[in-house]
Subunit: 362 residues, 2 copies
């Protein structure tokens, strides 16, 4: 009999069920154990990105680097102040993105890249983690701040997504700030388009107009350019937003992942808020933003585990490049990417600011 | 010492780790146990839908019912023959959807509903479960069969999604069949638009142009109308496709769930293929099609469990209505919806055909 007990005991240890053994004292006295309280890492928190791509230290001047960092800081401080004062994560996301949209440094709003037709067509989306309500616009040409249009579509229309001229009309009807298409023209982006077209001519016999992006880091970055923000507010509400000027030299009304809820943007109070930046086609195929949330909800992954798995394994195996920023319901923050760099910053409830550009592997 | 063993043994049983105990004989002889073989329910299978909505038996004439059933049968038999002959699930999905697109009975292709501007703007998407490649088009006005354009975008372009005039241009450049916008005009759909507009005038003081859809079952159905197909082929490859004429009286370039990968369409050989039909805004917010796949992948749910959970709980709690058709990698088929009816059919590898229209609760 003792031998059998020893055998079971051995298997017991083998299967490592050790943590299931209750304290005999607790058991004897029938003391009800309290559920372990999950401590929020941060009461509120905000993370932003300004695009991921071939951002290499060797190609960046000290002035340019300082300029990017200053703008990232300006943007994140706007959202942080809103959160600190008890404002909503949605407001923090919208106002923070506005700063980046208004800066020609990033491929969103002013500074948007040019399409093949020499126009600027902008996309944006926003999602409310409390209600799962969301708004998205694709291919607008006259809306100064596309993230505001996305917010308006979410709040005041029965729809989630509007595209093209119709979206511009709605913005006008709603009294959002309308600008002439020239507002978006910037010298730098026009040169990128010219270079992309020149490259295309050279590459014509390869019949692959995408290749230009792979030879010219600047074009490649333009292709990837996006701005985004995720935030957790003091009420525990999560929000995510993303805004972009799309892809240099794009044709045929191509739509990337930015205005696609679940691909480029996702927020759910039960899990996390995510904004992506990268090669949009792969983010759509991988349903990247929602995938991180689903892995947390269904598999019990932490935000870090889910972000690393989705970006470093699933997206990478698919052949996709880019990154995400995310914050979970407990205020844990993540910035995960598989490119050389990603313009990014975090700011927690203690006001600790962290701004980075390059991959730590560089 | 023996007492301690007894204590551990008691806890061991208490925590029901019984199933972890290996058979001592197996252990002694080091016999490797075989993994249980998962039998495929069907070697190949196909499921279609022609839209979900307020489809009530009391409002349907015997002729109309026969007409719908005949067209559903014609469509599914096309795809079934392809699968039976060893063809790909992608071909089966595309050709089956073509039959429904070409029929004025369904809100896709010919028979598409009218926008507020009196135009027909069509959406479609397709996904390959083997590669996770996908294609989608939104708001085209001249492409006879939008599902063919979605397939071409997937197969021959570097993009996943194209919208508006750009998508029409790509279709023309690629030599797909182009028709004049009048091709899509049908008397019945024009009347639906007129009724929706009349209702809108009446409802004007409520400032909610969506209400028309809730009072007029015919308009409501037009709103929901979509066609879709999912298939598993003999090689084990899954595919899903969806095509729609959108929403009656739609404005502002509204985009629904049909061209959104993850919302209206999803396929992954590791899990399942799904096509949705319903109130698109809710399908986007719920990332419905991918959610079913994610629940299977991360939670180990069966296709049935995941479909019921997503449609009857998650979508319903969100306030959304509609349904999905799905097939998993083992050939299990599902048709789940929370509306009065859904035009639908299944056909398995034995050639057993099942066509239904109404909910079993009617």
């Amino acid at each position: 009999m003792r031998k059998i007990f020893q055998l079971y005991f051995a298997f017991f240890l083998l299967f490592n069920c050790g943590e299931l053994i209750p304290n005999p004292d607790d058991n004897a006295q029938n003391i009800k154990r309290e559920e372990p309280k999950i401590e929020r890492t941060n009461d509120f928190a905000i993370v932003i990105h300004g695009g991921a791509g071939t951002i290499k230290k060797e190609n960046m001047s000290a002035e340019k680097e300082a300029e990017y960092k200053a703008k990232l800081e300006e943007a994140i401080r706007v959202g942080h102040a809103i959160l600190k004062n008890g404002g909503s994560s949605l407001d923090a996301v919208e106002k923070t993105i506005n700063i980046m949209e208004d800066s020609p440094l990033f491929n969103a709003g002013k500074g948007a890249v040019f399409t093949n037709a020499g126009t600027n067509e902008l996309d944006a989306s926003i999602m409310d983690g409390k209600t799962l309500n969301s708004g998205a616009s694709a291919g607008t040409k006259t809306v100064k701040n596309p993230i505001n249009l996305a917010r308006r579509i979410m709040d005041d229309s029965p729809h989630v997504m509007m595209a093209g001229d119709g979206a511009d009309s709605y913005a006008k009807e709603q009294g959002l700030e309308i600008v002439s298409p020239e507002y978006f023209f910037t010298e730098g982006r026009l040169k990128s388009l010219e270079r992309a077209k020149d490259r295309e001519k050279v590459e014509m016999d390869h019949d692959d107009n995408q290749k230009a992006a792979f030879y010219d880091a600047d074009i490649k970055d333009s292709k990837y350019g996006t701005v985004g923000c995720v935030a957790l507010d003091k009420s525990g509400n999560l929000a995510a937003g993303t805004s972009t000027g799309g892809m240099t030299n794009k044709r045929f009304g191509r739509v990337g992942d930015t205005p696609i809820i679940g691909a480029g943007t996702y927020a759910n109070n039960a899990t996390c808020a995510v904004s992506g930046t990268g090669w949009g086609e792969y983010f759509i195929r991988g349903t990247v933003a929602y995938d991180i949330s689903a892995m947390m909800e269904y598999k019990g992954s932490t935000l870090e585990e889910a972000s690393v798995e989705v970006i470093q394994k699933k997206l990478t195996n698919l052949g996709g490049t880019g990154g995400i920023i995310a914050v979970d319901k407990n205020g844990n923050m993540m910035m995960e990417f598989n490119t050389a760099g990603m313009y990014r910053a975090t700011m927690d409830d203690k006001g600790e600011l962290n701004i980075e550009i390059y991959s730590k592997k560089q």
